[in-house]
């Protein structure tokens, strides 16, 4: 047996990971595991990662269109202390995401960024992509996910457009590996249509996003023109889940664990139910939808519930020509995260029911506390290599018309 430490111990440079630790150090094991699995040569797309847009809120509010609100917001951001970022409603749960500081990267990323040629978020996103083993990363905001519950619908319009403009100007221009789904101010349908017109043709805009935490019915006639516009562009419409602890149905849940488990699924279960039973896939057969960040276990549950009830009450959903589960399987796409892996047989069944080989897209949700890794798809024992390649990137390439040439470098 050799003693390798003859000249003393070789301690790791980072003994405790905290909010100051470089993303590349936090994810060093992920990069090593991606290399070991040969992901350098695989095309990998992360459909759902995040940045914390409020870190740049001083910049974002400068893009507000209304000159009075813009001035108010800029003064607030410059002078006001003790309040949340201008215009954002946020949610109580945001305080608890890191489990009391146990998961530091969820609290903040205060790492050094020396690069000045691009925005800090571009640098952080590059670090994440090249550590996780990702070629294209779709970046979503974080506190803005709650804007659909703002009591002033015009605030969603002002801030949504400002964010879209800022994203195009400061982030998307910095690296074409970074993609976005345009934030739609969905509570104001005409403004959502305007967002489609204004940003829909940007080369790094690969689709459109409804933040699901809202109480507007997705089947209302007011939205049909919007869906037609999106369908004509050939880019998908995503429903990005979120929670909202003020939802009366969650009023008795006192643990963030429980609220997070339910809230992130509940919103998309409701929108999906309305989407299917009102025949939206029949009305817009070329409109692809993507259901983001609700995990997967809810899908077979809802398929079974809707199918059973539909056969007894077909007259209440007369537009349907197929079973609800068939629309959910054939016209909807799903992202993986947070993939429920503690019951492998159930997961295998889910993959089968949603036809994962063609309908499932990898997502990490980095840097949130329940982020997933590409290696999780590589390590699944019940799907073949082609299915793994599809889920990790080729399904996304097909859905979003992306060039499936790997661009990451796992060896730097």
């Amino acid at each position: 047996m050799n003693v390798q430490g003859k000249f003393g111990p070789n301690y790791a440079a980072t003994q405790q990971i905290d909010v100051y630790t470089d993303t590349r150090e936090v994810l060093a094991h992920a990069k090593r595991n991606a290399r070991l699995r040969g992901l350098q040569d695989w095309f990998v797309v992360d459909i759902d990662a995040h940045h914390v847009e409020t870190v740049s809120w001083k910049e974002v509010v400068q893009y507000i269109e209304d000159p009075v609100i813009r001035d108010n917001a800029m003064r607030y951001q410059s002078e006001r202390i003790g309040g949340p970022p201008y215009g954002l409603n946020g949610d109580l749960g945001l305080r608890y995401q890191s489990v009391g500081g146990r998961i530091p990267h969820q609290d903040d990323q205060r790492e050094k960024v020396a690069e000045t040629d691009v925005h800090r978020d571009v640098v952080l996103t590059r670090r994440a992509m090249d550590s996780l083993g990702v070629d294209n990363m779709v970046v979503f905001p974080t506190p803005m996910l709650f804007l659909g519950m703002h009591p002033q619908p015009e605030m969603e319009v002002w801030l949504g457009r400002a964010y879209n403009r800022w994203m195009a100007d400061r982030i998307l221009s910095g690296d074409d590996r970074i993609k976005t789904l345009v934030y739609l101010p969905f509570n104001t349908p005409q403004e959502a249509e305007r967002a489609v017109e204004e940003f829909g043709d940007h080369k790094s805009v690969i689709g459109f996003c409804v933040t699901s935490t809202r109480t507007k019915p997705v089947h209302h006639n007011d939205y049909m023109r919007l869906y037609r516009m999106i369908e004509e562009r050939g880019k998908p419409l995503a429903f990005h889940a979120g929670y909202h602890w003020q939802d009366p149905s969650l009023a008795t849940v006192n643990r963030f664990l429980g609220m997070h488990c339910l809230g992130f699924v509940w919103c998309n279960m409701i929108h999906m139910t309305n989407w299917i039973l009102n025949g939206i896939p029949e009305r817009f057969p070329k409109l692809n939808t993507l259901w983001v960040e609700s995990g997967l276990a809810w899908v077979p549950f809802l398929m079974q519930r809707l199918d059973d009830q539909f056969l007894m009450r077909q007259s209440e959903a007369p537009q349907l020509k197929r079973m609800p589960s068939e629309y959910m399987r054939d016209t909807c796409f799903y992202t993986t995260q947070p993939m429920e892996t503690t019951h492998p047989k159930a997961l295998e069944n889910t993959f089968d029911m949603i036809n994962a080989k063609t309908q499932l897209l990898f997502s990490s949700d980095w840097p949130h506390f329940d982020f997933d890794l590409p290696q999780m798809i590589c390590d699944l024992p019940f799907i073949d290599e082609q299915a793994k390649r599809n889920i990790l990137g080729l399904n996304a390439a097909r859905l979003f018309n992306l060039d499936p040439t790997p661009r990451k470098n796992l060896f730097v």
């Binding site: 111990p9 405790q16 936090v26 146990r102 329940d370």
Partner: protein
């Protein structure tokens, strides 16, 4: 399997942790209540850098004789290492997850010799 120095016994105060690079492997060495423990720096969940996480006491929720709860508490006798990736917690003494003891860390062999600590990996 090679043997790697993890420093001197005296380098460790009670409650200290040192993560040692051992070739391709990494091992976390902990000193708790005078005893040394060594675990591979790979979380049982997703192979995250578990030994580089925060050290915290186990959280308890005492239930009184009426079945009621009023406050949480720390178990001062149970030290946890918490994976910074996803928050999986493990007893530093046993390497086991407090909510499911089948989920556990991989132990590294630790030797104390002539006032020096070595780990095998």
């Amino acid at each position: 399997m090679n043997e790697y120095s993890a420093g001197k016994v005296d380098d460790y105060q009670d409650g200290d942790r040192k993560v040692v690079l051992c070739g391709e492997a990494e091992v976390g060495v902990f000193r708790i209540a005078g005893e040394f423990y060594a675990w591979h720096n790979r979380c049982a969940h997703r192979a995250g850098p578990v030994c580089q996480g925060r050290l915290m006491k186990r959280v308890l929720e005492p239930v009184d004789a009426d079945g009621q709860v009023r406050a949480q508490a720390y178990d001062e006798c149970e030290d946890h290492i918490i994976c910074p990736w996803h928050g999986y917690e493990f007893s530093i003494r046993t390497g086991r997850h407090p909510g499911n003891e089948r989920v556990r860390l991989r132990k590294a062999e630790l030797i104390v010799r002539d006032g020096e600590i070595y780990v095998r990996a």
